[in-house]
Amino acid sequence: MTAGVTPSVAEIETIGSVGFILAEEAALKRHVSGLTIPRPRSLPSNEVPVWYRWPDGERAQQYPFITIDLLDITPDIERQTSVWDLGTDPSVFEGTLYDTDVAPGQQPVVVGAGQRVGQYFPSVSSDSMPEIGAENPTTGYRVENYKPVKLVYQITHHATSAQDDRWLMAKFIIDVFPPNPVWLSVDADKTWRRMERLSFTNADTQETTETDKRHFRKIYTISIEAEVPVDTTVEVVRASRVHVDLYDRTHEAREAVDHDSSSEHHIAIGEFTEPQPAP
């Protein structure tokens, strides 16, 4: 659900309400961040930085580093044509229970499966979450279903030494993108998303403009499950007028359910049965 929802609910908080792609990309960056290559005591151990695309030339190039590139957003035909019912069997959106008692600025800690509490899913409304299939008992919102799509990413680690390259490879293959299935925790809606490692490419021999450096590149192509909403809420307003028709209980004539309340009504008062005197 998107766009201005007024006046019964708050305006969309575009900064805080992370939505489609932004939520998955932030989760992916967090997933590949935090690697620190062990060094001898005489050398500093720096965390391997992660960039979206190759870092700008103005930035001091620190090796090794990791880059993230979005390659494609493609319909997930297998899931779209499966008989899987998202409403009754929401396996993709299996909830994640986070320990909310963390210090400000610290990442929440996953403590086990639980109820989903986030705001994305994939709405960006700052109001309560819509429910699939059945109405949310509080807001009355519901969505029919979502269209499954796949986000395809290229993750690359770059190094100038074979030692760093091999250490990163080991970490990536064992911890970052282990054999399938791989699960990505998306903080925006507190869900686990399935990732697939589609391919691995050794690009050490690739020539670069940095001809003085040996350049070790390992490229991982991955896909992440995501959804886009089929329904779009443009506006939600309170009812300003309620139209009620009164009918004789014994008379079968009725106006159509969707009749125009401002047009002439066809059930004449004369068709009402005469009130009977009380016995």
Binding site: R53, W54, D69, D72, P75, K150, T209
Partner: protein, 119 residues
């Protein structure tokens, strides 16, 4: 104990099988052509690939699998840079995002088989 099959029935069966084999072959060629045309068109329009490199894209069968890519070493490094990117160019991922292209080719091949009564 045995039974006899009339020669005209054997001829009809053989003819039927030949027609199906030809339909399957034509469907395979059609699928290859569909993939090749779509990928070449996408590559020609992509700034990292361009028309010259797109013309080098080919499909072929090898080890019981269908391949698509650049055959020969002449344009390999150019194609690699276009596909995976470098510090100057973003990766295109053209050869790694062919799900829709393959689905379309499979649909066309199946339609061809159906039109020939072989599916």
């Amino acid at each position: 104990m045995g039974f006899e099959i009339p020669s005209h029935a054997v001829d009809a069966l053989e003819q039927h099988m030949l027609l199906h084999a030809q339909a399957a072959h034509d469907a395979t060629v059609l699928a290859h052509r569909s993939v090749l045309d779509d990928v070449r068109e996408a590559a020609a329009a992509h700034p990292s690939w361009g028309p010259e490199l797109a013309a080098q894209i080919d499909t072929w069968d090898e080890n019981d699998r269908t391949w698509i890519g650049i055959r020969g070493a002449g344009f390999e490094s150019q194609a690699f840079a276009a596909e995976y990117g470098d510090e100057k160019r973003a990766p295109s991922g053209l050869m790694r995002t062919l799900d829709n292209t393959m689905n379309l080719a499979a649909q066309r091949a199946q339609q061809h088989l159906a039109s020939r009564g072989a599916f």
